[in-house]
């Protein structure tokens, strides 16, 4: 592999750089912290003639995603980006995009939702989007946000998939932190994710209607078709990851395990928090503690098969949720994992940790506390309590 010079980029600037190399045709967006610098940079690229795209500064996120949907239905390669309230405003259009099988790609800088108003990171904005039928990838670093966006277009535009993709990167923590990012050559990106004109599009020469009235005889089949495509996309996502690894030397997997092989207790997490947990595992392993962790890189479709083999010998499993699910008995990520365990007939005791809401720092000491709790559970084999609110006062 040839040597590549790294560039110093924040998560957002890395995303914008990827979009420039991917040569998108239409960008429609509305500014919202912490996503704003992505589209700010893209508008600069367009103004400077570095990216030949139609940049639409629309009046709301609802219009942003609607414009992307429309442009994609005419065959354009599109991009948008948002956070928090903006993502919530897009909500209704997200379902339409996936059911119409349009390859829209969006970067989300994950941020808490109001009230109170808070611009920092948590997964409160993305969890309400669980059932919109989009592929949802999670990045742990600026490098990964860059890589995942390039993968996202290849996945999304694959005729076997044809589904919209969200690339999630934790707001502020990843969006605004600078790190050395190793980019691909423009030509490498162009040959890895080449744009192809899809036959099913709005074309005056061959007219068709998308998303017209669906009678009860057709609605169920249409929704199932897109849900099945999402379920089946898991193989193609890993195939794209594999191919990306061949050209870049970086591949991520649907789950990224670290020291799980002989671990008694395993902590599962998603997003930037995984970096802190990985560092803590490294420290605890030095002391001879049999701990492991797993970072969930793909949230939808949920990679339960990939996960189950890794936790089968654990004595206790902890799941970190960076969002609340009020009124539910557990958090959203925990919910998926325990369902998968139950259906795989595994009865390992599980504990749900809620932490890092509204940008609250999660430190190595917090992670050590979580592992201590898990070790107690592993010793007795029973989780007396299944929810812990790490760092909550009172």
């Amino acid at each position: 592999m040839k040597t590549v010079e790294p560039i110093l980029l924040s998560g957002n600037l890395a995303a914008a750089y990827a979009i420039k190399q991917l040569d998108v045709d239409v960008v429609a967006a509305y500014p919202i912290t912490p996503q704003t610098t992505i589209i700010e940079k893209i508008s600069e690229y367009v103004a400077d003639g570095e990216l030949d795209a139609n940049f639409m500064l629309v009046e709301s996120e609802h219009s942003a995603i609607s414009s992307c949907l429309s442009a994609a239905s005419a065959g354009a390669r599109v991009f948008t980006s948002t956070s928090s309230q903006g993502l919530l405003l897009m909500h209704e259009i997200l379902f339409i995009t996936s059911a119409l099988r349009l390859p829209v790609v969006m970067a989300v800088a994950n941020r808490s939702v109001s009230a109170p108003i808070n611009i920092w990171c948590d997964h409160g904005d993305i969890m309400p989007q669980r059932d919109v039928g989009w592929i949802q990838l999670f990045a742990e670093s600026a490098q990964e946000a860059y890589d995942k966006l390039i993968q996202a277009y290849r996945i999304s535009e694959d005729p076997r998939v044809r589904l919209p993709v969200m690339v999630n990167a934790d707001g502020i923590i990843l969006s605004h932190t600078y790190e050395p990012v190793f980019p691909l050559e423009d030509s490498e990106v162009a040959s890895f994710a080449p744009w192809k004109l899809y036959p099913l599009r709005l074309d005056p020469e061959n007219p068709l209607t998308m998303g017209a009235f669906g009678y009860p005889e057709y609605y169920f089949e249409t929704r199932y078709q897109s849900a099945k495509a999402l379920e089946d996309s898991i193989g193609i996502i890993s195939e794209v990851d594999e191919k990306f690894g061949e050209i870049s030397g970086r591949k991520y997997g649907a789950v990224s395990p670290f020291r799980c092989e002989d671990a008694d207790v395993i902590l599962i997490s998603m997003g930037s928090i995984s970096e802190t947990i990985r560092a803590t595992v490294r420290k605890l392993r030095e002391k001879g503690e049999k701990v492991g962790m797993m970072s969930l890189k793909l949230f939808r479709p949920f990679p339960f098969k990939e996960m189950m083999g890794l936790v089968k010998d654990a004595k206790a499993v902890g799941v970190v949720d960076r969002a609340l699910s009020p009124g539910a008995i557990v958090g959203p990520v925990f919910n998926d994992i325990t369902s998968a365990l139950y259906l795989s007939k595994m009865s390992v005791p599980c504990v749900n940790f809620f932490t890092g809401l509204g940008g609250r720092d999660v430190r190595m000491a917090d992670v050590r506390d979580m592992f201590e709790k898990l070790k107690e559970v592993a010793k007795t084999g029973v989780a007396k309590e299944h929810r812990f609110y790490v760092g909550l006062r009172g």
Partner: protein, 95 residues
């Protein structure tokens, strides 16, 4: 009328419909009750043809023979024809 509908994997991606679909999408599948004309009592007054909101009732002519016919591909079973028929010769039959 129960037509063979496409399976989920026989449908085009993304619920695409093409032009002239009104000829293909037989909306008669909405129906629960089907109007059936008792031709021996029918006076061919054409009242049902005028009232049918679709309109899917027509007069079929062959030679000197005239017969009121219902196009079940599009009849939604609203029952207006049965209600308005002056000689009450249309029955609504559950399908």
């Amino acid at each position: 009328m129960k037509r063979e509908l496409p399976r989920w994997d026989e449908m085009e991606q993304g619920f695409v419909t093409r032009t002239l679909t009104e000829m293909v999408n037989k909306t008669g599948t909405w129906r629960t009750f089907k109007p059936v004309i008792n031709h021996s009592r029918c006076t061919k007054c054409r009242w049902c043809i005028i009232y049918c909101p679709e309109p899917c009732i027509h007069m079929e002519v062959s030679g000197s023979d005239e017969k009121i016919m219902i196009d079940y591909d599009f009849c939604k079973g609203c029952g207006i024809c049965a209600e308005e028929c002056p000689v009450k010769c249309i029955d609504m039959v559950e399908e």
